[in-house]
Point group: C2
Chain length 327, copies 2
DNA sequence: TTGTACGCGTTATCAA
DNA sequence: TTGATAACGCGTACAA
């Protein structure tokens, strides 16, 4: 079913049908109505790809995430998808995985689809290889990166200042009288390296001798296990900062089982201020990295870029601690 | 940058370049190498939309969810996206919202993009209007629906038998000596109507007089509030089944605050066996509706359908209860 | 081994 | 108010 079928059925040319479809003026009322009826009758709808070819516009954007299942990232994707859908854009959402080669392959796929803009969600996309892929294959289309920054003229970065945020977390624990504070990192990423820096800076500012960092995977189970390790290795620990809420929830469980009282004996802080922080028991104090503002800004900047309007090239967002029951 | 630019630069015709790109045989080695070098040099990559036009294949599939942020659904989307990406398909993922008109509009958009297959995730897509939209606009492309069924020749349905599952939950609580069991529903959906049926059937089988059903929204906060209501209205309650883990976690908090011991005084069961069940305290007993099998099956059936291989039209999956600390 | 010519489904230009 | 024609970028039958 093509525009020609409708044209033939209506006894007009394809251009007339096209005009009706695109609501152009200068069509006789009867002609328009006849064509509209036929379109309805045949359930005809124009082929967007063909239209895109001649219009030189795909009306598609790409959204890349390392893993779509990470709640913290999907909220960003949702905001972008919804807002751009309103403006007629279709979103291609891809989980790239952490492998740099695959990230490159995904970006190239988006290029082949001729997307008109790209959102990169997660600090993983700050990698050198991504820089090169964008520079080489997508030097002209707008790119926003959430929680990251890439120094390219067509790329806009939005970063939450988690380094200062985690430093503030350390200070908060110190104010609560904590002396033995450790940090639990999860997966290696630029964002996590910044948080770690913030932790070390915070400890340094206090002049504490203890600045131990533990490594966990990004899961409840891993948070649980590493925390049992911590209690064994550093029995005097009285404060733990986790790089993400999820591992912190596992940690809380371990603490509970060990008989330690939270926050009487030990304080705990997570990062993301996610649903996990509210669900956990006790409810988790967490560093809010302003995900909602990030999303809104990202959408806003991407739309501006798509419309060739002037806009910032990089934005740094403040973070703040949401205190709950674990501190 | 088009195939013609490469052809001109190489001093050959576009068809020769096309042959090189598509790895056809019968090309002189030197010609091929020259062209390959040029493609590399110019960072040329073919326009997939144009190719799709002539090949009559978009290599795109659509994934529809009511809300991409619902963890329980996003896992399905992830599995489908990953598996089909391996096979060269690009996924258009859309959050439709619950509004039927908008669902229809999303399906029509996918049709205009000429997707080659569609996955519908969530029982909301069993709605009459969706049936008609598919029947009218997409009578020929394969559709799988996860957690639902639509009686159309091109649609395959996968359903978890949550009705029996919830009935089993009631029976489990009865075995634990529970006499006053209530049910907390969340949003209205076909799946939830089945769970409710299961609850009522379970109560009926036991001959219990009490079969009260409460209504909540799909959130931690709502689970918390409704549970406080329950304790006020039915102080003798000793078992609560929640239609989703999320509301159950809110409920657990309310029970804890009320001073009731779980599971000594009261037993709690959720549905989905999600991460929430593991994070909550006490860890939540939950009805596992086999999300992973659902995903695998959906992918499998969709691929078979895309390849025109024979496959089942509808599958019913068993559920099972994962017992943790709340029963 | 390579080139020519056409078609995929649409829109825009220009002429009628 | 409408139609013929070219163009978008590509793949392929057929010819050379």
């Amino acid at each position: 079913m093509t525009i020609y079928d409708i044209a033939t059925a209506a006894g007009v040319s394809a251009s007339t049908v096209s005009r009706v479809i695109n609501h152009k003026s200068g069509i006789r009322k009867e002609t328009r109505e006849k064509i509209e009826k036929l379109i309805e009758e045949y359930n005809y709808s124009p082929n967007v790809a063909a239209r895109g070819l001649v219009m030189q516009s795909s009306k598609m954007i790409g959204i890349l995430l390392v893993d779509i299942r990470v709640v913290h990232h999907i909220d960003n994707a949702f905001a972008i998808e919804q807002e751009l859908a309103k403006r007629g854009y279709c979103s291609i959402i891809m989980s790239t995985g952490a492998d740099e080669a695959n990230i490159g392959s995904c970006i190239r796929q988006l290029e082949q689809r001729r997307v008109e803009g790209i959102a990169l969600i997660g600090s993983m996309f700050m990698a050198k290889s991504t820089y090169h892929t964008i520079k080489t294959y997508l030097p002209n289309i707008p790119v926003v990166i959430i929680n990251g920054y890439i120094d390219l003229p067509n790329v806009t970065g939005i970063i939450a200042d988690e380094e200062s945020g985690v430093k503030d977390c350390v200070a908060l624990l110190a104010r609560k009288g904590r002396k033995n504070i450790v940090y639990v990192n999860d997966a290696d990423s630029p964002a996590n390296r910044n948080k770690r820096k913030g932790f070390l800076a915070g400890i340094r500012a206090l002049g504490y001798p203890q600045n131990k960092i533990y490594e966990a995977a990004t899961s409840y189970a891993s948070g649980y296990e590493i925390t049992k390790d911590i209690l064994r290795e550093d029995p005097s620990v009285d404060g733990i900062i986790y790089s993400v809420d999820l591992t912190a929830t596992g940690g809380l469980r371990a603490l509970l089982e060990s008989g330690r009282k939270v926050p009487e004996d030990i304080s705990v802080i997570g990062v993301d201020n996610s649903i996990y922080a509210k669900i956990s028991y006790p409810q988790l104090t967490s560093l809010d990295n302003n995900a909602e503002s990030q999303s809104k800004l990202a959408v806003d900047l991407l739309i501006k870029a798509l419309n060739n309007e002037p806009h910032e090239r990089s934005v740094l967002l403040k973070t703040h601690i949401v205190e709950r029951e674990t501190t």
